[in-house]
Symmetry: C2
Subunit: 302 residues, 2 copies
């Protein structure tokens, strides 16, 4: 029999300056800081990011998870009000993943009275979700700049399910000289291939089954690519046709160059890579997902 | 006879990461960092800011001056190309003011290839120079965010001649949690009251004499205020009428609340303060200046 694992509750910090001081203290003690910014409603995907942060900073390092439902990244008709908030349960989940610090500030603390500063990243915010969520990436860049300034030098781990967000934040950190290593960790998926997301809980049982169409569409494109298909329009059509079969709406299914999200030539090179990103509505729920052709395997088990 | 003063040349740093490391080393050694961001072409006003930084960080502290003609804060028809660049002379001037470090990065270093991140401060950027220099304060906020991130915790000293800039940057530093104390130091003036500015050298001899109209206009408003005048439109008219006599163009002469630059009621309270800011053209040269009514004395010696 193995001995029972000791699970220690993470330290919960509310005030931005306390979070800054905690991270500074860790570095002064010679420890590395791993940071996982989230909006809470944590699932196995988030916990995988926390474990990746631990792997990077080592057993002695400090792993911090921020939990903040950031109002500036929601549009006026989006799900800010009903986005799940469950701090106590999230702290418990963090404990099981060995998280040391949970930073859970209030909206008023992150956006003090009179706040009027905004950060935007131009080109890489424009394709994919850009036209469908105006202001979204500006809201993300604005709050993550603040979080990065507070955390200081750290390894920040994001999930690649939000592929464009990862690219926006990596660009932002470099451009602003923020001393942060921005890491995109591979998407964690359910057994049937659906990417884990806090929004999956919005799905009815029937819609949850229909949602499988998303990894199926990506997988079909991966298999076509592996079969030698390099025509960008054809690869896009393969994904789009499958999505249209069962999604209520296809916002986009588009291929782009994987780093800067630039447009691609009509045909990829033999070893050319491309990120295929999609957004659909299943019922009232918006789901996004992506796969990098030439780099990742099919997300749907065949 | 006093002994000759020893003047030591400042350390000149070109690479952003070297500047960051230099400031970090100072703090690790327990020293405070005083920082004066400039565009170079240094004059007595800048050197006064460097001496104020010294006063704040103490003899043992580190005073850094950055010299960077920031392209993103110039409009397409402004004087970016002809803005004076004279690094060697500036380093010499810094030596006389006891500056320890001159940070003089290249444009390519501050805006690396693919750069696309911009910072803006909304409301406080809108009045005064806002409509006349679209994008100007966004360029300033973008570069100073980068400079503040590199400098780290410090006292940053700006001249109040650029009053709106000071207010924009103070707001920005607070909103982004940048660990910087943003200080606005009183404007340094020539003997006849003209605010020191790197752009004064553009003035012909005749225009230099005409430029006295700017401090004269501000002083007339101060004297009216001191005489009991509290009507905002009247105070504005007093300044405007004088400027119109000799300036080639009055871009604006406006009064605002001094911190957030909000609009004012029609009449100030007896102890009410207001910043009167003006921008004029004398020949081809654009001059700005300001005074805080209820706080500062008349800038023009009477």
């Amino acid at each position: 029999m193995s001995s029972p694992e000791v699970i220690r509750a993470p330290e919960v910090i509310r005030a931005p300056e306390d979070f800054r001081a905690r991270c500074e203290r860790a570095r002064r003690d010679g420890l590395r800081v791993g940071f996982v910014p989230t909006m809470g409603a944590l699932h196995e995907g988030h916990l995988t990011l926390a474990r990746e942060a631990r792997r990077r900073v080592g057993e002695g390092g400090v792993v911090a998870v921020s939990i903040f439902v950031n109002p500036t990244q929601f549009g006026p008709h989006e799900d800010l009000a009903r986005y799940p908030r469950e701090l106590d349960a999230d702290v418990g989940r963090c404990a099981t993943a060995g998280v040391d610090v949970v930073f859970a500030p209030s909206v008023e603390a992150m956006y003090p009275p009179g706040d009027q500063t905004r950060v935007r990243v131009t080109k890489v915010s424009e394709p994919f979700c850009g036209p469908f969520r105006p202001g979204h990436f500006e809201g993300v860049a604005t709050v993550v700049t603040r979080l990065f300034v507070l955390a200081g030098a750290c390894d920040a781990v994001f999930g690649r399910k939000d592929y464009q967000q990862w690219r926006v934040l990596d660009r932002m950190a470099r451009d602003l000289f923020l001393p942060v290593e921005v890491i995109g960790h591979p998407t964690v998926r359910e057994a049937d291939g659906l990417a884990m997301s806090s929004r999956n809980r919005y799905l009815s049982v029937e819609d949850r089954l229909r949602a499988r169409v998303v990894p199926e569409a990506l997988s079909a494109a991966v298999r076509a690519y592996e079969g030698g298909e390099r025509d960008v329009a054809t690869l896009r059509s393969i994904a789009q046709a499958i999505l249209c079969e069962r999604a209520d709406k296809v916002e986009y299914a588009d291929l782009r160059e994987p780093v800067d999200l630039d447009e691609l030539p009509n045909a990829l090179a033999a070893d050319g890579r491309a990120v295929l990103a999609v957004a659909v509505r299943i019922g009232a729920t918006r789901l996004i997902d992506n796969v990098v052709l030439g780099e990742e395997r099919a997300p749907r088990p065949s």
